[in-house]
C-alpha cells in the first residue's frame, strides 16, 4: 500500500499531537485514571481505523473528542441525557442575581486561592452530565461553540444555553463552598447560593 506511509504520517502530525488533551477530556468523562487511559487507547485505535474517513484540513481535535465521547457512551451503554432548552430570559435574570450575590460576598477575590481552584474542579465534576460536558469542552478545553456542538451532536443554541446554565450553577456552588469554608463572608442578600440544578 503506497498510501499507508503518508496516511500514518498525517495521523502522527494531526491526531497523536492531541493525545494529552484527549487524555484530559477522557479523565473528565470517566473520573478515573485507569478507565480514562483505556478510553484514550480506544479513541486513538478507533480514530486510526477511521482515519481514511477523516478530511484533512478539518478540525482533528474536535473529531477526536467526538470519537472519545462516542466510545465512552458506547462502553457505558447509555446516551447523553437530553435536557430542555432553558428560557434565555430567565437564565439571564438568574445569572444576574448570582453575580450580585457573588459580588457582594467578594467571591472574585477568592478565585486565586488554591482551595477555591480545587473546589472549582470538584464543582465541574458534580454537574449533571449535559452541563458538565459543555463546561469541560468550552471552558476547560477551549473549544468554540461550533466545535462543542459538533462533538456533542446538538445545535449551537443548545450548547449556549447549557453552557450559560452550567456557569451559573458553578458560581452558585462556589459561592456556597467559599462561605461554608469561611473563605468569604456572606452579606445581606447573599442567599442564592443554592445547589439546585
Amino acid at each position: 500500500m503506497t498510501t499507508a506511509t503518508p496516511n500514518d504520517a498525517d495521523f502522527e502530525s494531526q491526531a497523536l499531537c492531541h493525545l494529552p488533551e484527549v487524555a484530559r477530556f477522557a479523565r473528565s468523562l470517566t473520573g478515573d485514571d485507569a478507565d480514562a487511559d483505556d478510553l484514550v487507547q480506544d479513541t486513538f485505535l478507533t480514530a486510526y481505523r477511521q482515519w481514511h474517513q477523516f478530511e484533512l484540513g478539518s478540525e482533528c481535535r474536535a473529531w477526536l473528542f467526538t470519537i472519545c465521547r462516542h466510545r465512552f457512551y458506547r462502553v457505558h451503554e447509555r446516551a447523553a441525557r437530553q435536557v430542555a432548552v432553558e428560557d434565555p430570559e430567565l437564565e439571564s435574570l438568574a445569572a444576574m442575581a448570582t453575580f450580585h450575590s457573588a459580588q457582594e460576598a467578594g467571591l472574585s477575590a477568592a478565585f486565586e486561592r488554591q482551595e477555591v481552584r480545587e473546589a472549582i474542579f470538584d464543582a465541574v465534576q458534580s454537574l449533571s452530565e449535559p452541563y458538565r460536558e459543555v463546561a469541560q469542552l468550552v471552558d476547560l478545553h477551549n473549544h468554540t461553540y461550533d466545535a462543542a456542538a459538533l462533538i456533542l451532536g446538538v445545535p449551537i443554541g443548545t450548547v449556549r444555553s447549557r453552557l450559560f446554565r452550567a456557569r451559573r450553577l458553578l458560581q452558585e456552588r462556589l459561592l456556597t463552598h467559599a462561605i461554608d469554608a469561611g473563605i468569604i463572608s456572606p452579606t445581606s442578600g447573599t442567599q442564592s447560593g443554592g445547589m439546585s440544578q
Binding site: 445569572a95 453575580f99 477555591v116 476547560l140 468554540t144 449556549r160
Partner: protein, 86 residues
C-alpha cells in the same frame, strides 16, 4: 448620550462576548457600553476572572508520556508506521 444598547442586552450577550462568539460590529457596541457603564464593567470583570479560574482549575491525569507509549504500541499492532519506533 443614550447608549446604543442597555444593561439587559449586555447581560444576555455577556458570555458570547467573553467567548468571542459575537460578530465584530456587535463586539464594538458592547465594548462601547461597557466602557461607560460601571455596573456592566464590574460584571464583565467578574465573569472574566471566573473564566480564568475555571481554565486554571484543570487537573492532569496519568503520565501523558507513558500513556502515549501505550497508545503507540496499540496502534503499531494495528499496522501504524510509528515514526518514533525505529
Amino acid at each position: 448620550m443614550k447608549p446604543m444598547i442597555d444593561c439587559d442586552a449586555i447581560a444576555r450577550q455577556l458570555w458570547d462576548f467573553l467567548d468571542h462568539a459575537l460578530p465584530p460590529e456587535r463586539v464594538a457596541e458592547l465594548e462601547a457600553h461597557i466602557a461607560m457603564c460601571g455596573h456592566c464593567g464590574s460584571h464583565v470583570a467578574f465573569e472574566r476572572s471566573f473564566k480564568e479560574a475555571l481554565r486554571a482549575a484543570q487537573r492532569e491525569g496519568t503520565d501523558a508520556t507513558a500513556l502515549g507509549a501505550r497508545v503507540r504500541a496499540a496502534l503499531r499492532a494495528e499496522g501504524f508506521a510509528d515514526a518514533r519506533n525505529g
